[in-house]
């Protein structure tokens, strides 16, 4: 029930098709934005946020509902949806951020599942299992313009997913840059202190709780933005896209790239997405379902292996791997 909903547009005999790899690239970009939030929370504040998929859902659904149900302009709906998601971040964070690390993990998963459950059952609002579609017109217009520029730049007949690839990565890189810089500020320093030892931070006059809340709300906003890209990519929002498996994949990206490396997130996302999708094309004498299952078995093994043998991932710093509990 919580499998990833993948775009129907992928065709299996298109291994060398540019369109396929552009699609992979879009997912990688979406994952990057999604996981940047996790990095801020886990790598830099010490908050085990396992509900990021829930925030993604709130962002995507809020946008979809505002556009299709309330007739709002797509571009106006985006910042409003972000604010709504940050509001949820506040609601989830207020009671749970004072709990210890493992309780927070359970609570955030529960919150995320509660959100998915609501999306599934509140049919009047969310369309239930069928979901919502038809919010992408404004984006399509922009995509057409971008395609026009690409042609003008010399790419004859660009793939119609190319604009989304460019935009998602533009946003991803911008966010990575911003977070990187923010980390080197006094604000970032307080977060790092909270990450290791809240009591030490408090004894030095820092309101640790407020900082944790800020961190969670920013991650929620990042989740919402990832949700927008997912929604536009699939052209629909359904509850199945926002299961905990998505969060677990985000964590895999996180640990692969390395806790405490924002730029590592992008690298981890690209590698993971490439490996997972590339597996489709192995000439194995087994059915599609089995290949699909195998991908996640490998993911699980990767997670276990990394944690056992190289917890700092590719670009993480071993000295900063102290997440207090």
């Amino acid at each position: 029930m919580s499998e990833l909903a993948l775009p129907v547009a992928i065709s299996f005999d298109a291994f060398t098709s540019l369109g396929f790899w552009i699609s992979v690239g879009i997912f990688a970009g979406t994952f990057t934005i999604f996981t940047l939030g996790l990095q801020l929370n886990v790598g830099y504040t010490g908050i085990f946020n396992f509900g990021q998929a829930g925030f993604m859902a709130i962002g995507a659904y809020s946008m979809a509902i505002l556009v299709t149900d309330k007739g709002m302009n797509f571009w106006v709906s985006l910042p409003i949806a972000i604010l709504i998601t940050m509001g949820f971040g506040l609601i989830v964070g207020l009671p749970s951020l004072r709990l210890r690390a493992d309780y927070l993990a359970i609570t955030t998963i529960a919150a995320s599942e509660a959100i998915r459950l609501t999306a599934l059952n509140a049919r009047d609002l969310t369309g239930g299992a069928q979901g919502i579609f038809g919010f992408g017109d404004s984006w399509d217009e922009v995509a057409d313009s971008i395609e026009g520029w690409l042609e003008w730049l010399g790419w004859s007949n660009p793939d119609n997913l190319a604009p989304l690839l460019i935009v998602v990565w533009g946003v991803a890189l911008l966010l990575t840059l911003t977070l990187s810089k923010a980390q080197r500020t006094p604000w970032g320093r307080v977060l790092r202190a909270v990450r290791e030892d809240e009591d030490a931070a408090r004894a030095l006059g820092k309101n640790a709780f407020a900082y944790k809340l800020q961190s969670l709300m920013i991650a929620a906003a990042l989740g919402a933005i990832a949700g927008f890209f997912l929604a536009v990519n699939l052209a629909f929002v359904v509850p199945d896209s926002f299961g905990p498996t998505f969060t677990f994949l985000g964590y895999a990206v996180l640990v692969l790239g390395g806790l405490t490396s924002y730029w590592g997130v992008a690298v981890g996302a690209i590698i993971l997405q490439t490996v997972l999708e590339g597996l489709r094309f192995l000439e194995l004498p087994i059915s599609e379902v089995k290949v699909s299952a195998l991908r996640f078995v490998i993911l699980g093994l990767v997670l276990i292996g990394l944690m056992a043998f190289r917890p700092q991932g590719m670009f993480g710093k071993r000295e900063e791997m102290v997440i207090g509990d």
Partner: protein, 336 residues
């Protein structure tokens, strides 16, 4: 805030005393709240409905309880938040399927097989993964992520071998049994019976047997227990044997009353976590009570909400407990 304003010698206000009472006798308070809820429900929906749903709830609750006992002991002793525990239940269910449907052996053998295999799984993982990681001083995030990786491996391993179709254990799901004017599926009745006997036996074992006492001692304070000369590594292994065996049993029972599918593990994980939290982490008796309580409450909720929202009730209970009394009904008020 009383603290800054009460001078020494002043008497506590009634609200202060009430809150103190709540803190010292949480079980009584919980019982009181539960009794109130039951009375309100009976007044609203009638004794028959409440009792009927309650009976079904006992069946689900026994399954939660069996899962929760194992999880809470592992949690309490090893400080391991085992996100793969739900998949242990799924593993057990599929092992039973293998033996009794694929190999067409009696279901009773299937159940035994499930329990043995899941216990074995627990032990192998302890020796091969958890033990070595603990020895290396692995941090809590590492362990959580490893358990998630493990959950993925088990769940999708099951999917690899058995696919995503729903499967059924060879049990009669339609026969019903009547008890005091209440109807319940025969299988569910058996689940309640099996569940209660096992839980009772577990309770007795934990309370009176040497191993049980040692397990509870380790769960209470591992370092202290080590200094008293208890062979902690053996107790830990036995803990995994129990956790695995009960998880396997719970999985089979769950599969018997519903159906088998690879996601069943995760579906069960959160209610089991809720039961553990409600009862107090590391408190085995609490987990038993928490599981039954949760099963019953979730079933009662169907009296006035759509069945699709059932899981939400579990979450609400979990969140409420974590907000109001994070140490659970039976847990001690440790600084969290």
């Amino acid at each position: 805030m009383e603290a800054g304003t009460l001078a020494p010698g002043e008497d506590a206000s009634p609200t202060e005393r009430l809150r103190d009472f709540g803190r010292k006798r949480p079980a009584l308070v919980a019982l009181g709240v539960l009794a109130t809820i039951v009375l309100v429900l009976i007044a609203w929906k009638g004794l028959h409905s409440v009792a009927q749903r309650g009976l079904i709830g006992l069946s689900t609750g026994s399954i939660y309880a069996l899962g929760a006992v194992g999880l809470t002991l592992v949690y309490g002793i090893l400080k391991l938040t085992n996100f793969a525990h739900g998949d242990f239940l799924a593993f057990g269910a599929y092992m039973a399927y293998l033996m009794s449907v694929t190999w067409e052996l009696p279901l009773l053998l299937g159940i035994a097989f499930a329990m043995v295999m899941t216990a074995l799984l627990g032990v192998v993982l302890e020796k091969g993964m958890w033990g070595p990681m603990r020895a290396r001083g692995a941090g809590i995030l590492q362990l959580i992520l490893m358990s998630i990786g493990l959950a993925l491996v088990i769940r999708y391993g099951i999917q690899y071998f058995w696919g995503t179709e729903l499967r059924n254990l060879d049990v009669n799901k339609t026969d019903t049994v009547e008890l005091l004017g209440l109807r319940i599926g025969r299988t569910q009745g058996i689940v309640i019976l099996v569940g209660f006997i096992t839980l009772l036996g577990t309770g007795v074992m934990l309370r009176y047997s040497l191993l049980g006492k040692r397990m509870r001692a380790l769960s209470d304070d591992l370092d202290l227990a080590e200094t008293t000369g208890i062979d902690t590594s053996r107790v830990i292994l036995w803990t995994w044997v129990f956790a695995g065996a009960f998880a396997g049993l719970a999985g089979v029972l769950y599969g018997a009353t519903t159906q088998l599918q690879p996601e069943m593990g995760f579906e069960l994980l959160l209610p089991i976590f809720a039961a553990v939290v409600v009862g107090g982490i590391g408190d085995a008796f609490g987990a038993l009570a928490g599981g039954i309580l949760l099963g019953v409450v979730v079933e009662w909720s169907t009296l006035f909400i759509d069945a699709g929202w059932k899981s939400a009730v579990g979450f609400i209970v979990l969140i409420l407990v974590l907000v109001i009394r994070p140490q659970g009904i039976f847990g001690k008020a440790r600084a969290l």
